[in-house]
């Protein structure tokens, strides 16, 4: 019982913090403001510390939760994403009059769902975790009740998300029909013992699960919801869901497809390759045409999903560790980029058009410099984290002989640099056109920007330590 509880300790801490945050808001004295964001920060730090303490112990909880290094690595990544989101949120939440107790509680519930998803070794628990995560994010998307775009985004996201959950559940049902269990280790054992090749039913289960995951990681052609949901959601929520949801979904994707469905690698690799190519190409080419920065970053996040899929296909130790590194690097960078946008926006001006960034260097040099770092990291230029991440993923693809995928990945990366650099060029090269008195930077946000910038350079210049940890976390697991 004790080891069971220890294994889920990070999740337990985050869930309890969410409940405390929710209750604290309703008990706060009238006129006073309890720093709810601070509670969240404490909880997330606690969860990260718990994850670090559990490192290397490989505990199992209740038979369905693994606290292996893989899950713990994702946990720490999710904590970092959560901490950055909350640091940026505190001022924005107040300015946009978002109900703060619910906002922070749902963010934390979302993170606990993501952690559950990363650690679960039972399809049923993965599904429940997926729903905890998704429900939180659906509500966060529509939390600005006065915003019509937010309501539309939340509704679209909810409908399509429910639809994809049905696909996923159907896949679980078929898997249970074939195997007689939803535990991943038993699924792997049964599939490996099928000597006469996979049955039609197995392939059907595989395809349905693939659809469910592809939707959550917004792989083309299951990406339709992404631009609308990302554009309509509050900017920080967009940052949160484009990184946290993706990290958790990819964690479960990796665990299910590289452990349970590993015996069928030959069956699913071509399908996932096609998805990866479509995702990379469409994400970058359509991204180039966008003039709304939130939409552009939405397509960029679709493209990043494609690069991660390349790592999933190549799936040697370099590829798996590279994916984990990629998720961490991309997560920190993308949250921070959306954070800058949220800090620049005001009540009547969302600051999400490319033109809004013109001459930012003359108005806010520090913010412009930070944004430059984040955009270069997203584009994958050295010496930032994004470069190292892409390098490992494509190296894995070349090692495994997937030259085509690696070449398409590099070409699309080059194209994507165009739309990141376009903003950078506008920030520095053009005269100050927009004169809007953007609010002063709150202290929390400054800390967040500094942390993110440091992390990006640390991961970009001295990646060895984190890469080693990533290698440790995939060793002997799959």
């Amino acid at each position: 019982m004790m080891t069971d509880l220890q294994a889920i300790m990070p999740i337990l801490i985050v869930t309890l913090t969410a409940i405390v945050t929710m209750v604290a808001e309703s008990f706060q004295p009238r006129g006073e403001r309890v720093p709810l964001g601070g509670l969240g920060l404490i909880g997330l730090t606690g969860a990260a510390v718990a994850s670090v303490l559990l490192w290397g112990r490989d505990l199992t909880g209740f038979g369905v939760m693994r606290a292996d290094n893989f899950a713990l690595f994702i946990n720490v990544t999710l904590c970092a994403i959560g901490v950055l989101t909350i640091l940026f949120s505190t001022s924005v939440v107040e300015r946009e009059r978002i109900p703060s107790g619910e906002y922070f509680a749902l963010t934390l519930f979302g993170i606990s769902g993501m952690m559950l998803m990363a650690g679960a070794s039972d399809l049923l628990v993965i599904f429940l975790a997926l729903e905890v995560m998704s429900l939180s994010v659906y509500v966060l998307t529509g939390i600005r009740r006065s915003s019509e775009a937010g309501a539309e985004a939340a509704f679209k996201y909810f409908l399509l998300g429910a639809f994809s959950s049905a696909f996923f559940l159907y896949g679980i049902a078929f898997t249970y029909g074939v195997v007689g269990s939803t535990r991943l280790e038993q699924v792997a054992a049964t599939l490996a013992s099928q000597v006469s090749g996979p049955s039609v039913m197995t392939i059907l289960a595989l395809a349905l699960l693939l659809v469910g995951f592809a939707f959550k990681v917004s792989a083309v052609p299951f990406h339709m919801w992404t631009p609308d949901a990302y554009e309509g959601a509050p900017t920080l929520v967009t940052g949160f869901m484009s990184t946290g949801v993706k990290a958790a979904a990819f964690a479960a994707f990796i665990r299910v497809f590289l452990s349970a469905f590993e015996p069928l690698h030959a069956e699913w690799a071509p399908i996932v390759s096609a998805l990866a190519v479509a995702t990379m190409v469409l994400g970058t080419t359509v991204g180039v045409a966008q003039s709304n920065v939130k939409r552009m970053l939405a397509y960029s996040s679709i493209a990043h999903g494609g690069y991660l899929l390349v790592g999933l296909i190549a799936a040697n130790s370099v590829g798996k560790a590279g994916m984990l590194f990629y998720l961490a690097a991309y997560g920190v960078t993308n949250v921070a980029a959306f954070g800058v946008m949220a800090l620049l926006s005001t009540d009547d001006h969302p600051h999400d058009n490319v033109r809004d960034f013109a001459g930012l260097w003359h108005r806010r040099p520090a913010l412009a410099a930070a944004m430059t770092v984040f955009l270069l990291s997203l584009g994958g230029l050295p010496p930032t984290a994004g470069f190292v991440a892409k390098w490992y993923v494509f190296a894995a693809a070349v090692q495994e002989g997937y030259y085509g995928l690696a070449i398409i990945g590099m070409l699309t990366s080059v194209i994507s640099v165009y739309f990141y650099l376009r903003i950078v060029v506008l920030m520095y090269m053009s005269e100050d056109v927009a004169v809007d008195p953007a609010p002063r930077l709150p202290r929390g946000a400054v800390a967040g920007l500094a942390l993110a910038t440091l992390a990006i350079f640390y991961l970009g210049v001295l990646p060895t330590r984190v890469i080693n940890l990533a290698v440790q976390s995939v060793q002997g697991l799959f």
Binding site: T15, I19, M22, G61, F62, G63, V64, M65, R97, P99, E102, A105, L106, F109, S112, G113, L116, D122, L124, V125, L128, A129, E131, V132, L135, S136, Y138, V139, G142, I143, R145, S146, A154, G177, V178, V179, G180, S199, V200, M201, T202, I203, L204
Partner: protein, 171 residues
Amino acid sequence: MAPWLFYLFATISVVSSIGVIGQRNPMYSVLLLIGSFISLAGLYVGLDSPFVAVTQIVVYAGAIMVLFLFVVMLLNAPREDVAPGAQLPIPGVVKAYGGVLSVAMAAMLLWALSRLGVVPFVEDPQAAERVASVRDIGLMLFRDHAFSFEVTSILILVAMVGAVVLAKKTV
């Protein structure tokens, strides 16, 4: 269960489900949904799961649908309010494209299912007895799936908070 009973319930279920989304009047949709749930309960009986069947009727066809009916009646919306011109006309090309795709997918599924031949499911003669009684369902729920059960409670909490956030009047 006799095959004709299965096909009867399956047909009722599919037809009434299609009816649910085809209705303009939400009241009819709700009533058709009840029909769909009851025929599903019939299918559960055929699968030797009387407890699940009864639960299906009590919880879904009973409690949840009553709530649905209340909401529909309280909102006093006997018809969908579609202002003329509010709905964008769907181009014929899109309709044709969607139609072709859905037919293709149905054909593919039928082809796959026709190739099945043998029953691919795990044959377990005791499976029916194991999950038929309430006692065994309880044991399974609280022993094998205790953790899932707890996660479900968090899920419901999140859903509740979300519903309140989205529905409360003053922000």
